[in-house]
């Protein structure tokens, strides 16, 4: 799915109808359109009685409302269609509207047809009927969407300055083991992922954070991250001890500083926080998280949208919040079938896309959680739905494998396998898609739709790092798998080894890092660039 809506070609009968009647029929139809608080629309002809076929008075089968004469005709089967008979007796009465769903129907083609202007008319009615302040549906703003340039955060040509003329120079740049300093694999695993997050890497290798220039009046975590980058990309392949980095991080995060087992995700968030803080302090203009220019937010920050709707009147209140990652609840695979069937298809496997579906599904808030509806002016049962308003350059998914019971005062780890794709299209989870679906998938510019012309950003992502946790909750081990130029490497503290794709597919993933597809391929080019420049100086012993 590319994210663009296909405008289907009208059948000859619809085209004919449009030629003759233009938009007149759609506009007058609005008097008979009935909008529901849930985003669906139906046709209502007579408030006082149930609709019946004009020819046979039945109310069975499917009922169609003729666009030209506003009479209702039934359809039981292609052979028994009074709607079709009607088009035979009245010339050109060929286009009708399905009363149940307000969909255009060509009685001659016997098929559902589509017209963006019809959808527009339906949506206009919906908008009129919806309680005000529902900003789900907005007419597309004229060129207010600035061209969002893809920000790869650094000049790739600087990478060629870092040379290693040794025999292992044809291995990817920056592959280096990290020594475990004592229960620090949570830190090593996240560092490995960040070291190979292309825009993040480009920023630091491109010397955007200059340690000499940076004010040393306050300890700066970014300076220490910069030092780690320099060391790891220096060409030295013996494992590196990120001791100074640990020291620096503990100085910043007093409450997390201890020699004990810690959570990699917590560490990741903490790191991004510290980078942001330093940026915030040194930069007087604080535009708010959505437009923050610190490297942490430029790379990882996206915007989530939360819609809370009243189930009675449809009034929706929307909030936008920035996020640097997405934490997902584990999907419960049906207990029956985790085994593959004979055909090799997996039935009942929990998947990342399944978890994303869960994340964006409309959730009925409990009756003990009735929210105040501004329109009804009382507390009502509500629906809540999340969606992604703006995608970041790099998407980090965090699986909530930690389950905590307040009653039993116990915690347990969910070891269930989760299938995750190497290529991921985020279109179905965007706010525009979610809202469009809520209103019946009409052809209409919903809030969040960006015309393809105005942005270089796409919705397609490629997986480049997976952080896994093995073992128990209290005693486990983190390992990171990196995908560099389509080859997977296992980074287990000091040990870097090559693994095949199938090993990665079978992993129990805890955190997954995806990057915008074109940045992924660009990053591969950067690595090639490095290879080409060192080929002359490399002696034998190629990996």
């Amino acid at each position: 799915m590319s994210g663009t809506i296909v405008n289907p070609k009208p059948c000859p009968h619809l085209a004919n109808y449009r030629k003759k009647h233009g938009l007149g029929g759609y506009n007058s139809l609005q008097n008979n359109l009935k909008a529901s608080p849930h985003g669906k629309t139906t046709i209502l002809k007579d408030v006082s009685q149930a609709p019946r076929c004009n020819l046979c008075s039945t109310n069975k089968g499917r009922l169609y409302f003729c666009l030209i004469c506003s009479q209702i005709y039934c359809f039981l089967s292609p052979d028994s269609s009074h709607a079709f008979l009607h088009s035979q007796s009245e010339r050109d009465h060929e286009i009708a509207v399905d009363m149940e769903r307000a969909e255009l129907f060509c009685v001659v083609c016997c098929d559902q047809v589509y017209d963006p202007d019809f959808d527009m008319a339906v949506m206009c009615k919906q908008i009129k009927e919806l309680p005000c302040n529902n900003d789900c549906v907005k007419v597309r703003k004229q060129s207010s969407n600035k061209r969002r340039k893809v920000d790869d955060c650094g000049a790739s040509k600087d990478l060629t300055l870092l040379m290693d003329a040794g025999p292992s120079s044809c291995l990817p740049l920056g592959l280096r083991g990290l020594n475990n300093l004592g229960n620090t694999c949570f830190m090593n695993s996240v560092l490995q992922a960040l070291l190979h997050t292309p825009p993040f890497r480009n920023y630091f290798l491109g010397d955007s954070h200059n340690r000499e220039i940076c004010r040393r009046s306050s300890p700066c975590l970014a300076c220490d991250i910069d030092a780690v980058f320099s060391a790891v990309f220096s060409g030295d392949r013996t494992p590196y001890s990120p001791a100074r980095f640990l020291y620096s991080w503990w100085q910043h995060s007093a409450n997390l500083a201890s020699y004990e087992q810690q959570d990699a995700h917590e560490f990741f968030i903490s790191m991004l926080d510290r980078i942001h803080e330093k940026e915030e302090l040194s930069n007087s203009q604080n535009k708010g998280a959505g437009d923050c220019h610190c490297i942490a937010h430029r790379v990882f920050s996206g915007v989530l949208r939360s819609d809370v709707s009243c189930t009675v009147c449809g009034f929706t209140s929307t909030t936008h919040d920035p996020c640097v990652d997405i934490s997902l609840d584990m999907q419960h695979a049906p207990s029956l079938a985790e085994k593959s069937t004979k055909t090799g298809k997996s039935v009942g496997i929990s998947t990342l896309t399944g978890c994303l579906d869960l994340f964006t599904r409309p959730e009925r808030l409990g009756s003990d959680q009735k929210l105040y509806c501004q329109n009804c002016e009382v507390r009502q049962d509500s629906l809540k739905q999340m969606s992604i308003r703006r995608l970041p350059l790099v998407l980090c998914f965090h699986m909530k494998r930690f389950a905590h019971s307040h009653i039993r005062k116990m915690s347990k780890k969910i070891d269930q396998y989760l299938q995750f794709p190497f290529s991921l299209d985020m279109t179905p989870y965007l706010s525009s898609s979610i809202i469009r679906n809520r209103f019946g998938n009409r052809i209409f510019a919903f809030d969040g739709d960006e015309s393809d012309m105005s942005t270089e950003l796409s919705t397609e992502f490629e997986l480049f790092a997976v952080v896994t946790h093995s073992g128990k909750l209290e005693a486990g081990h983190y390992v990171t798998y990196l995908r560099l130029r389509n080859q997977w490497y296992k980074c287990d503290d000091a040990w870097i080894t090559r693994v095949s794709e199938k090993v990665v597919r079978a992993l129990q993933s805890y955190m997954m890092y995806y990057i915008q597809k074109m940045l992924y391929y660009k990053a591969s080019d950067d690595l090639d660039c490095f290879e080409m420049s060192t080929q002359e100086s490399a002696h034998g012993g190629c990996c």
Binding site: K60, E277, D321, D329, P428, G471
Partner: protein, 170 residues
């Protein structure tokens, strides 16, 4: 609902079946209409790709579980990709940046904890360093400056457990 066999069905159950049939037909057409729109407008997901990913994943899990498949997945390493071997506890030696003593890498963290006066006991005390004033700018929670959304009361049906996410490591 009774069986559709009209010989034995009472008029009452015939009528029920009849209404049920009508309702069912109506729902089926609703769904067909919805899917038709999704397909025609190009909004549907690439099912082939998704199925391929699932197939590859199932295949991978089978092959990885097979013990005859070699040691790609077991924890024992012989050499890394650079031809190096490493001890169980990292034995690089360097100077502690806090006290200046020579420490072995694999024991650095526990040393540093004591050396910096951090750890469980120290966490109870309020620190007065400049870092503390910095952290006051944030919301104070180490978890996330931007708590993106409230995920309260999502019942997952995992008994009485609710998800919070964090995992500790060794």
């Amino acid at each position: 609902m009774s069986a559709p066999n009209e010989e034995y069905a009472s008029p009452h159950s015939q009528l029920s079946s009849h209404f049920f049939g009508d309702l069912l037909d109506s729902i089926i057409v609703d769904i067909a209409s919805e899917c038709h729109r999704i397909a025609r407008l190009g909004l549907d997901r690439n099912l082939e790709e998704e199925e391929e990913e699932l197939r590859l994943s199932a295949q991978a899990r089978v092959r990885v579980a097979d013990p005859s498949n070699g040691g790609e997945t077991n924890g024992k390493y012989v050499v890394d990709i650079f031809g190096q071997t490493h001890p169980a506890v990292a034995n690089e030696i360097f100077e502690c940046m806090n006290c200046g003593r020579s420490i072995m890498a694999g024991r650095f963290a526990p040393h540093l904890e004591k050396c910096m006066g951090k750890g469980r006991k120290a966490r109870m005390k309020a620190t007065r360093s400049s870092t503390a004033s910095q952290t006051r700018h944030s919301r104070g929670s180490p978890i996330s400056l931007y708590s993106p959304y409230s995920n309260s009361n999502r019942s997952n049906g995992v008994d009485d457990y609710c998800n919070e996410g964090g995992l500790d490591d060794q």
